[in-house]
C-alpha cells in the first residue's frame, strides 16, 4: 500500500500464510485419515496422502458394511449408525433454531417497537441472564427435565433453548430499533394491527439480520455437547457430538479405529462447513459487527 515491497512485508506475508496453513491443515488431515485403510495407517503414519485409499471408513460408520468388512479394515465391528445421529442432530438444531429465533423476534419487537411502562427495566433483567454461567442453571434444569420425565426425549434436549436466549433478543432488538417509525405509523393509519406490522413489515425488513442470527443459532445448536450429553444419552435421540464421544470411548485402546473416527468427525463437521461456505460472507461480517458472540 504505502510502501513498496520490503523485507518486513514479505516476512509478514510468510507469517500470515503459515498461520493460514496451521488453521487449515487439520481439516485436510481429517479427510486424509478418513479415506485411509485403518489397518495400513499405523505402518505409514507420515504419508501425506491417504494410505490405501478407500471409502471403507465412511461405510463403516454409516452402518453400510458387514462386520467382516469392517474388521478387515481395522474397525471394531460394533454397529454404529451415524445416519441416525445425523437425523437427530438435524431435528434438534432445526427445531431449536426456528423456535428460538421466532420467539426472540417477538420479544425483540415488544422491546423495540412497543411502548409500555417498565419496558427498559424488563429488558435489562433479560440481559442480566447473560451473566449467569450455564453450568449454574444446567444443574437445576436437569432436575426439572428429569422430574418432567423428559430425559432421553427430543423435548428434553430442545426445550431449554427453544423459547429465547438473551443474546438473540438483544441482537434483533438492535435492528428493530433502526426501522423508521413513519412507516409503522403509515401502516397503522391504514388500519394495520400489531400482528400485521410484525409479520408484514418488521420481519421482511429484517430478513438479513434474522437470517444471520438463524445461521449462528443453528451452528451453535449443532455443535452443543454438554446439555445433550446430560439429557440425551439414549441412541434414539443421541446427537452427533454425543455419538462422537461414545464412539471414541468405545474404540479399543490397543488399535483405535482412527480412520473410522475421522470419517465420523467429518460427517459431524461437514454440514457446518457447507453451511459456512454458503454463507461465508454473511457469517464473517456478522462477527465484530454484532460484537459479543
Amino acid at each position: 500500500m504505502r510502501r513498496p515491497v520490503s523485507v518486513g512485508r514479505i516476512l509478514a506475508w510468510i507469517l500470515l500464510i503459515v498461520l493460514l496453513i496451521l488453521t487449515l491443515f487439520p481439516f485436510y488431515w481429517m479427510l486424509r485419515t478418513a479415506l485411509s485403510n485403518n489397518t495400513a495407517l499405523a505402518g505409514n503414519p507420515g504419508s501425506l496422502l491417504p494410505v490405501e485409499t478407500t471409502l471403507g471408513a465412511f461405510k463403516r460408520v454409516l452402518g453400510l458394511s458387514t462386520i467382516e468388512e469392517a474388521q478387515a479394515q481395522g474397525g471394531s465391528g460394533a454397529s454404529v449408525n451415524f445416519w441416525l445421529y445425523l437425523r437427530n442432530s438435524l431435528v434438534v438444531a432445526t427445531i431449536t433454531t426456528v423456535c428460538q429465533v421466532f420467539f426472540s423476534a417477538m420479544a425483540a419487537y415488544a422491546f423495540a417497537r412497543l411502548r409500555w411502562p417498565g419496558r427498559d427495566k424488563v429488558f435489562a433483567l433479560f440481559l442480566a441472564a447473560l451473566m449467569v454461567p450455564p453450568i449454574f442453571t444446567t444443574l437445576p434444569n436437569f432436575v426439572l427435565i428429569k422430574n418432567l420425565g423428559l430425559l432421553n426425549s427430543f423435548a428434553g434436549i430442545i426445550l431449554p433453548g427453544a423459547f429465547m436466549t438473551p443474546f438473540a433478543i438483544f441482537f434483533l432488538r438492535q435492528f428493530f430499533l433502526g426501522i423508521s417509525r413513519e412507516l409503522e405509523e403509515a401502516a397503522m393509519i391504514d388500519g394495520a394491527g400489531h400482528r400485521r406490522i410484525f409479520f408484514g413489515m418488521i420481519i421482511p425488513m429484517s430478513a438479513a439480520p434474522i437470517a444471520t442470527l438463524a445461521i449462528l443459532t443453528y451452528i451453535n445448536s449443532w455443535n452443543d455437547y454438554f446439555w445433550p450429553l446430560l439429557v440425551g444419552q439414549q441412541e434414539n435421540v443421541r446427537v452427533l457430538t454425543v455419538a462422537l464421544g461414545v464412539f471414541r470411548s468405545q474404540t479399543p485402546q490397543g488399535g483405535p479405529d482412527w480412520a473410522g473416527l475421522m470419517a465420523a468427525t467429518l460427517i459431524a463437521a461437514l454440514p457446518m462447513i457447507i453451511l459456512f461456505l454458503a454463507f461465508a460472507k454473511r457469517i464473517t461480517n456478522s462477527i465484530g459487527f454484532s460484537g459479543i458472540k
Binding site: M30, R115, P117, V132, L139, L229, A269
Partner: protein, 312 residues
C-alpha cells in the same frame, strides 16, 4: 464492540407529550404482553427459576433420589477442605492463563497482519473456519494428530530429531495441550473481533504518526494498542468467561487425567453431579464459579478502564 452501526436508540418518552390519560400511560402494554409470552415462559422456567433453585440447592444435601435436605453452609465448608476442589481451581487457572495469553497475542498479531496486508473476505473466512466446527470434533482431530505413536505431529518431531511427546499422557503437557487446541479453535474468531476494533481507529492518527516519522513498532505500541484498549477489554472479558468453562475438549480426550492434571472445575462439577449424584455440593461449586466469573469481569472492566477511549 457492540458497535451496531445503524441503530440509534430512540429517545422518546413513554407517553409522548399527551396529557396523562390512563390508557396512554399503559401504552401498548397489552400487545407487549402477548408478544412476550413465549420468551417470558423460557426466561422464567429456564433462567430465573433455575438460578434461584441453584442458589438454594447449594445449601442442601441432594442426591436426586430424595428431596433436598437443608444443611446450611456445610457444602461450602466441605469445599475448603476438599483438595480436589483446590486442584480443580488451580488447573482451571493454569488453563485460562495459557489459553487466554497465547490466544490474545496471536489474535492481535493476526488482526494486525490482516489489517496491513489484506482485507480479503476469503482470508477472514478461512481463518474463522475452526470456530464453526464443534469442540468435540476439534478435540478428536487433535487427539489423533497428537497421538503418541502414529500422530502426525510426533512424526514431524521425529523428522526434525526431537523425541516424541506424550501430549495427552504426560501430566505436565496435558493442560498446555488442551489450551493449545482451543487456541487453534478460537484464535481466528478473536482475531476478527480485534480486526473490527482496528477498523474503528481513524486513519488520520496513523498519517500523523507517519509524518512525525514514528517507526512501525512505535506506532503499534503508542497508538494502535492504546486506541484498541476498549475493544481488547471486551474481548478479554468475553473470551476469559468462555475459557473458564472449558469442558467439551476434556470430556472427550483426557477425562480429567492423567492423575487429576486436567480435572478442571467444570469437569469436577459435572463429575460430582452426574457420576456421584452429589447435586448439593456441585451446586455450591457452581455458585463459587459464578462468583469468580463475576469478580473477574468486574476487575477487568475496572482495571482497564474499559469505557474510556483515549480518542477524545
Amino acid at each position: 464492540m457492540t458497535a451496531v452501526t445503524n441503530a440509534p436508540p430512540e429517545k422518546r418518552s413513554h407517553g409522548d407529550q399527551a396529557p396523562p390519560k390512563p390508557r396512554r400511560r399503559l401504552g401498548d402494554l397489552k400487545v407487549a404482553m402477548v408478544f412476550l409470552i413465549p420468551a417470558t415462559i423460557g426466561f422464567v422456567v429456564f433462567y430465573i427459576w433455575p438460578t434461584l433453585r441453584g442458589a438454594y440447592l447449594s445449601f442442601t444435601e441432594y442426591s436426586l433420589l430424595e428431596a433436598p435436605k437443608f444443611n446450611g453452609l456445610d457444602n461450602y465448608e466441605r469445599m475448603i477442605h476438599d483438595s480436589f476442589f483446590w486442584n480443580a481451581l488451580g488447573v482451571t487457572l493454569e488453563y485460562v492463563a495459557i489459553n487466554i495469553g497465547v490466544q490474545t497475542v496471536l489474535a492481535v498479531a493476526i488482526a494486525m497482519l490482516m489489517y496491513r496486508l489484506t482485507k480479503s473476505i476469503t482470508f477472514r473466512a478461512a481463518i474463522l473456519l475452526p470456530y464453526l466446527v464443534a469442540n468435540v470434533v476439534v478435540a478428536l482431530v487433535w487427539y489423533w494428530m497428537l497421538d503418541f505413536q502414529v500422530g502426525i505431529v510426533n512424526q514431524g518431531l521425529t523428522w526434525i530429531g526431537v523425541d516424541p511427546v506424550a501430549f495427552f499422557g504426560d501430566s505436565h503437557w496435558a493442560i498446555p495441550t488442551v489450551a493449545g487446541i482451543n487456541v487453534w479453535r478460537h484464535m481466528g474468531y478473536t482475531a476478527l473481533l480485534v480486526f473490527a476494533g482496528l477498523q474503528t481507529i481513524p486513519t488520520y492518527v496513523y498519517e500523523a504518526a507517519e509524518v512525525d516519522g514514528a517507526s512501525e513498532l512505535k506506532t503499534f505500541w503508542r497508538i494502535t494498542l492504546p486506541l484498541l484498549r476498549p475493544v481488547l477489554v471486551m474481548v478479554l472479558v468475553v473470551t476469559m468467561i468462555g475459557s473458564f468453562q472449558i469442558f467439551d475438549t476434556i470430556a472427550v480426550t483426557t477425562q480429567g487425567g492423567p492423575i487429576n492434571s486436567t480435572r478442571v472445575i467444570y469437569y469436577y462439577i459435572f463429575e460430582r453431579a452426574f457420576t456421584r449424584f452429589d447435586f448439593g455440593y456441585a451446586s455450591a461449586m457452581a455458585m463459587v464459579l459464578f462468583a469468580i466469573l463475576a469478580i473477574v469481569s468486574l476487575l477487568q472492566l475496572r482495571l482497564l478502564r474499559a469505557k474510556e477511549s483515549d480518542l477524545a
